[in-house]
Structure formats: structure tokens, C-alpha cells
Subunit: 495 residues, 2 copies
């Protein structure tokens, strides 16, 4: 069966069914699985585990790269098979289990999980479950559509289960760059000096002795939903394009800008698509996830290179990529997520980081994770890695939602994931606030003036004026600072 996919003779004896492989996973174990924003996830072993758990209860700690496809997080949550989950998720069923306190969710910077594991700050991994395209003669493996934390899980797990995905063309070899930094205090320099730097190997080293099972799979990545830009996302993209054009005019950037990072979702996709038009040229990306817009930019000739740790694309883009691998070779590279999200590289290259906020406050503090301060949405993801160390940290959100009953510009953020010290530019469909070099009182004026929805402007101004009378570097009325969220909880509206 698929001899070209498992070329290591000893390992070819370990081929088994998904159910047999899943049986290695026992109650209480820690599992480190591949998968980053649906790309390159375990498609059959974790599914078999969820099926088994629904009849034969067990609970595991599950670590991944980021979110998974195929509803697997939801299936595991429904089967009550998760006691602890990290570092990210985006599943509505799992989200409920997290918010009810059933699953302990450790919401981590995605660039840090590998380090925390290596440092012994997280429980040791019992079994790694990794999707690969091929097992080579030397025991190295060829990754698929994400690299994520696979190297860290392979290094630190006691045992490894490989899911060999036979739908991934072997010609994907050359699209990965696997680099290991070693451990602090003796870590090596990460010698990436531009988005396209190749610093490692095109396959991933792995100890074949650790492999206890090999399973074949022919399932594709869950496609990303491609949402067409609406008036709000187009308006946000428009404000950002105007801003970048202004920065070029002021001589602060060239039409190649700086390497781009963009969070996942329709706003980021709309913004990137906006670069297809206009004066931009020789753009590069150094991001964590590549979406459809990246391929549009490469196809249009506007972008010369895109580096990330994962692909999260629509079905048609997925098919386009694999049908045209030679066209994209030398223009796309997937790296481990502690390299794609490395503080060192982000600062050195000087990224423009564009991420989505749930809400931000009048002083520029950003909430990326919690609804009304308590309920988890998805997690911070890589937004903190990039915002904290970038050249320019941009957050975008809609000014208001739910028929303008919820303002996404608030007196005080109900949770702070990226704070005033780390946020340069805020954008909503209403406008853009350039916070660079401003003190909090100055930021409040420009945020209220430019970013909030007109239906909330008077109320925000009223709050700010009342706060101002009390003084301080960052004036607040403590009894009212969270009252908008309180009202939302009580009445379903901030009005």
C-alpha cells in the first residue's frame, strides 16, 4: 500500500487502521497534534478517537498548532474527550465547553507553545499525531499544508503516530523550511533576513524509533469559507489603502511597503486583495497563515514571496495551488510556527501586522479574545506575537454590529490582549486612527472622532468628558468604565 509514501522499511511495518492507532491514546494522556487553522490537521486518527470516546469515555490534553478542520474539536468536545486544550481553537461546540468551565483552555501566543514545551513549562507529550505527505528512507517526514508545532511535538513526544495523506502531491517537497533553534540560554540566531530566506531543511527530522503507528488518509483540508467583501470590509480596506498611500507619499515606506502579516478572516482577505490594485509592487508576506488573497497577489505579480506556517484557503484556491505547484515554487514557504511568529524575525524584518479585534477602547487597548470580558471567542492566536514586535501594529474591526446595538469602540476594553503600548493604527469601517506618538488623551479624541459609529459618538464623548473632569494620564469613570458591557449582558444591547 502506497510504497512511495512510506520509504522507511521498518516503519512500513507499522501501518494500521485509524482505530488501531487511536487505541494507543489512553485516558489522561497529552496529545500533540498537527494542524494550524484547518491546514495539515489529523483527519482520521483524532476522528477515530472522538468516535471511541463517545462510547468509551476518556479525557486528554490536546495541543495543536492552532484550530483544526473537519469539526474535530467539536466532535472531541461533544464526546467529552478534552480536559485541556491549547494553544488556540475556533470551534463553536468546544467554545461552549470552554466557557462552561468543562474544558480548561490555555490561550497562548502561537509562537510560544513550542518553547514552553521545550522548557518543560507544559506537561510532556505522550503521543504526537502528525499529518505528513511522505516518510523518507532516513525517517525524515515531508509535511503537508502546515508545519505548525509538528517539529516540537515530534521532538518532545514519547511516541508518534503518523497520518500519511496520500492526496498531497509529493511535489510539495521544497515548500517547507524546517529550522530548530536549540534551547535557551543557548539558542542559535534565526538567520531569516527576508521573507524568502531558506535557513533549514525541506523535510522534518524525526526519530523513527518513536513511531508506533502509521495510518493512511485521503481526506483533504477543510476549506476556508470565502466570504465576499461587504461594504464594511471594503470600507476598512479602503481606509488602510489610503493610509499606506499616505505613508509612501510621506517617504516613510516605498511601494513595496514592509513585509505583511495578516490575521485570518474576511477583513484581512479584503485588505490584502486591495493591494492588487494601485501602486504597490514587490510585496512580501511574513505571516502565520496564507489565505486566498496571497495567491491573488502572487498571481497578479504584485507579491514576490510569502512565508507562513500554514495554508488556509478555499477549495478552489487549494486546487489551484496543487495544480500549479511549479508556478508557486520559490514563492511560498511554510515554516514552524515558532519561526513564522518569532519575535526576532518580526522585529528584524519590520512587519506590518494587520489583525482583527473584537473591540478596542478610546485609549487604544485591544480585546481580541473575550466577549464582555468573560466569554472566550477563539483565542489570541498570533496577534500578540505580531503586534508586540512589529514595525507597525494595526487592528481592524467593524465600528458597530447587530443593527448598531453593539459598539466595538468602548470606554474601557473588557479584556486586554494588545495594550496601548503595542497598538499603532486602529481602523473601522468609519475611519482610521493613527495613534503613533500620541498620549492617551490625544488618542481618545482621534479614536472617538475617526473610528466609532456615529450612533455611539455622543455617548463616548460624554464618557470621555466626564472622565476628563477626574483627571489622570488615562481618565476613566470607574463606575461606568464597563457599563456598556454590563448593559449588553443585561439587555443584549449597548444602547
Amino acid at each position: 500500500m502506497h510504497p512511495e509514501r512510506v520509504k522507511h522499511s521498518e516503519l512500513s511495518k507499522k501501518i494500521m487502521t485509524a482505530q488501531e492507532a487511536a487505541a494507543f491514546i489512553k485516558d489522561g494522556m497529552v496529545v500533540g497534534a498537527s494542524g494550524f487553522t484547518k491546514g495539515g490537521d489529523s483527519k482520521v486518527v483524532l476522528k477515530a478517537l472522538a468516535q471511541r470516546a463517545s462510547v468509551d469515555p476518556l479525557k486528554i490534553t490536546l495541543m495543536t498548532g492552532a484550530s483544526l478542520g473537519h469539526g474535530i474539536d467539536g466532535r472531541l468536545a461533544e464526546a467529552k474527550a478534552l480536559s485541556r486544550r491549547l494553544p488556540f481553537q475556533a470551534d463553536p461546540i468546544l467554545r461552549n465547553s470552554i466557557n462552561s468551565g468543562e474544558v480548561m483552555f490555555v490561550d497562548q501566543h502561537l509562537g510560544e507553545t513550542a518553547d514552553l514545551l521545550a522548557n518543560g513549562f507544559l506537561p510532556p507529550v505522550d503521543i504526537a499525531v502528525l499529518e505528513v505527505a511522505q516518510v523518507l528512507e532516513n525517517g525524515h517526514v515531508l509535511p503537508t499544508t502546515s508545519v505548525g508545532n509538528n517539529l516540537a511535538y515530534a521532538q518532545h513526544a514519547k511516541h508518534i503516530i503518523l497520518e500519511v495523506n496520500v492526496t498531497i502531491p509529493l511535489e510539495i517537497r521544497g515548500f517547507h523550511d524546517i529550522f530548530y533553534t536549540g534551547l535557551s540560554p543557548h539558542r542559535s540566531i534565526i538567520p531569516v533576513t527576508d521573507a524568502g530566506s531558506i535557513i533549514g531543511t525541506d523535510t522534518m527530522p524525526m526519530d523513527p524509533e518513536k513511531v508506533i503507528g502509521i495510518v493512511f488518509s485521503d481526506a483533504k483540508d477543510s476549506p476556508a469559507e470565502l466570504v465576499a467583501p461587504d461594504t464594511k470590509t471594503s470600507a476598512i480596506a479602503g481606509h488602510l489603502m489610503d493610509f499606506f498611500n499616505h505613508e509612501i507619499k510621506m517617504g516613510r515606506m516605498t511601494p513595496s511597503l514592509h513585509p505583511l502579516q495578516a490575521g485570518i478572516g474576511k477583513v484581512a482577505n479584503a485588505v490584502l486583495s486591495g493591494f492588487v490594485h494601485g501602486q504597490f509592487e514587490n510585496l512580501t508576506m511574513y505571516s502565520e497563515v496564507l489565505q486566498d488573497s496571497t495567491f491573488e497577489l502572487i498571481d497578479s505579480g504584485k507579491m514576490t514571496f510569502a512565508s507562513a506556517c500554514s495554508l488556509a484557503v478555499s477549495q478552489s484556491c487549494y486546487e489551484k495551488f496543487f495544480a500549479n505547484l511549479e508556478k508557486y515554487r520559490g514563492k511560498i514557504l511554510l515554516r514552524p510556527q515558532n519561526i513564522s511568529n518569532a519575535a526576532e524575525v518580526i522585529r528584524r524584518l519590520g512587519l506590518i501586522a494587520i489583525n482583527t479585534a473584537i473591540e478596542f477602547d478610546i485609549y487604544g487597548n485591544v480585546n481580541s479574545t473575550h466577549i464582555a470580558g468573560s466569554k472566550m471567542m477563539n483565542g489570541i492566536g498570533g496577534s500578540g506575537d505580531f503586534a508586540r514586535n512589529s514595525y507597525m501594529s494595526i487592528f481592524v474591526t467593524q465600528a458597530a454590529s447587530k443593527n448598531n446595538t453593539i459598539s466595538h469602540v468602548v470606554p474601557m476594553a473588557s479584556h486586554v490582549d494588545s495594550n496601548e503600548h503595542d497598538v499603532d493604527i486602529l481602523v473601522t469601517d468609519q475611519g482610521l486612527a493613527d495613534l503613533r506618538g500620541l498620549a492617551p488623551r490625544e488618542r481618545a479624541k482621534v479614536i472617538i472622532q475617526n473610528c466609532c459609529h456615529p450612533e455611539f459618538r455622543d455617548a463616548l464623548n460624554e464618557y470621555y468628558q466626564e472622565a476628563l473632569a477626574r483627571g489622570g494620564q488615562t481618565p476613566h469613570v470607574l463606575s461606568k468604565a464597563l457599563s456598556w458591557h454590563q448593559k449588553l449582558q443585561d439587555t443584549g444591547s449597548m444602547k
Copy 2:
């Protein structure tokens, strides 16, 4: 006059009085001055400027390395000579002007100011005022007890005023390492691979054409106040020593630990002094400021190297350092603050970062800057640079103060400078909370149990139980989350 101090023949013609030099500074100008936590600040030109401003009103934007000595920030604030101040201050008079809204204070990560200036995100510097020990034949200058942002100010200022401090022995040459990264997106690697790496030059390049005035000064740095450890700081140091011993026992660290960073103040000093006893050996520091405790550790043989961007020591330690330069040569190095606080190096070396909090909440969010959410204390300083990118991020504070009427462990931090994603260990005199790998609900239990003052434990538990009934990843009662601070504002007590 002091020909050995100004060896550049053209520049020796620019010698003038402090008053004459200060006269170059006009209303509305941006001044970039040396000085970091009292070390290497302008001692005569800014003083002359404050004197002039008190009779001949003017307002400037003042950028420095960090806080200044000799009460100069207070003198300038009293003279109403500051319209804008960044990136840090620690002066009681200036603090009042900031909190009243008279001075716009831009509270920045100290490792970022140089980059923001170079990127054109801050107003251009009209005049740099830099303390130096010597001007060399080639126009390079020899720094004194801090490097701070001097290189950036010299590079980006239109004009430069030099304050030549004749009290600094010329033998200080060799104690500095000046390195320039260039500008993103084409910045170079910062090749520091251990605390003692020398990567630059021992004097600072500067364009002599920019120099418009040279002033001699014979004033020493304001000494740091040396506060003897009290029962609280000793208790905090004791908890941390126990913790480090535990980490060594668990095999996660050796007795050399990882390179240490410690914020300024008596707690950090007490913690570092604690390393003189016990099993620790071959310790190193990669910090922003070196305090007396660093010299104690070097003297005792426990520490082999300490890197920073400034000295902030007592008068006796200052005298000891200059009387024994040969003893400390090769063991101490001062770098620009965007190198001492570089994300890249902090992550690569894997620092243990120990910083002081004003308060933290039951979920591990840290407030380093604001009293009751609004009033500025000093600023975030380097704490964010280090906490965000370190191997282990530790925050310390007293559990309660003012006769136990104020709890420093609160339901919700009233301002967030380092958030839950960036904080590993919290310590008060009551105990230590190890938050590594914990979800927010788990953190709440260990923080309330270990860190809060017993007189506030029931109230915190009561808040947490009420919040828990409402659910969520991070349970809160919005109407009560800031009520402790509200009570403090209303009554002067959180009880």
C-alpha cells in the same frame, strides 16, 4: 580647558557655557537627551534651560532614555517647559503635571523609542543633548554611565549639544558596546549570543558637523537611594529563591539559571542580593539597569558578566566602580537601550525577567503604570520588553499596603500593561503563584490562595465564586470588577 576631553580640533572651538548652549533650544523644539534612570543624564544644559524657562516661557518635547536625575524633570515641569515627554519619567512634580493633563506623556516600551524615531513615527529631534566623557579626534564620543538612546538621538537630531563630564575617568573606555542595526525591512541580525558578546564599537559614532555647542560639567549622577530590605522584600526574595531552587531540582535550570533581568527598586535589589547565598554560580545579567546588587554579585564571584544600558547605583557603589575599573573590566558592558531591551536577544538568551507590578488581578493580568486605572505612576519602562519576550516572566509586588487597606491583588486589573498571556510567575510577600500552563480559572485559585493578603482572601474568593456562577473562560462580575478601585477612590481604602 580639558584638552584631553575634546580632542577634535574643530569641536574644541565650540566650547561654551551651559546658558549659551541652552539658548539654542527654542520654544516648540524637540529635544532628545541622554539619561537613563539617573545615569548619564544632562546635568547642566537642561538645568540652565529650566532656569531660563522660569523667566522666559517656552515649551519643548523632551525625549530621553528613561528617567533623569537631579530633579531635572521636576524643574522643567515647574517651569512649565514641557509640552510632551517620553518615553519614561519617575518625578513626583512631573507626574502631577502629567496627571493634570498639562504634559502629554507618551508611555513607551523603552526598547522601542529609537526604532519609532528612526521610522519617522515620532517628531524629528531638533537638538540632542548628550553627556559624554570625551570627544575623540575622529568625532566619535565616549559615553559615560548610560548609553540609552544616545546613538539614535545623535543620528536623528539636526544639531547636537555635548555635555563633557570631566569627573568620569577616561578609563571607562571599553565598558560600552555601541551597535547599530540599520532600518527595517533591512535591519541586520543583532549577533549577541550571550550576555558578554561584544558586537559593536567602544565609542559612539557621531557627525561632528552637527555639534553646535560643547559644555563642561563636573556633576556626578544622582545616586540611587539604597533601601535596606524589609520583611516584605525579604519574604518576596525568599519565595523566589525557593522557586529557583525547585526549578534546579526539577532539572529545568542549572545553578547558573538563565541570564537575569531585574527592574529597578528595592525588591529587585533584594532578590538579586539573595543570589549571593546558596548554590547559584556563574550567573549572568542581560538587563537594562545595573544596581548595587549586581556589583555585590560580581564581587562575591557569583556573577561572571552583566550587560545593561545604564548604571543606577548608590554613591558608595558609584565610587567603588570608578575606583576599581580594572577589576570590573570585561565583566560589565553598557549598550544602547534598543539592544539591551531587544526582543531578539531577550528571546534568544532566554531571560528570567523580574519586574515590579503596581497590582495584578486574579487571572494574572499585571498593571505596572496606573493607580486606580487613571493616574500615572512612572511608566511601563522596560518591563513589557522583557516580560513579553523572556523565557520566564516574573512580577513581584507587596500583597497589601497602607496598613493593609489596599490590596495589590484585585478582581480585575485597572490597567493592563502585561497581560495573562505574558505572565508566568507572580510573587508577593505572602507567596508565589506558578501560572505556567494554567487556564484562567486555575490561575485564580492559585493566585488567591498563594499571593493575596489574608485580610483580602475572603473578599477575593467571594468575588471569584460570584463570577464563576456567571461562567466564561475568565469569569467576571462586570458591576463589581472595578469596585475595589472605586472604593479606594471614594474612601481611601479597598476595605
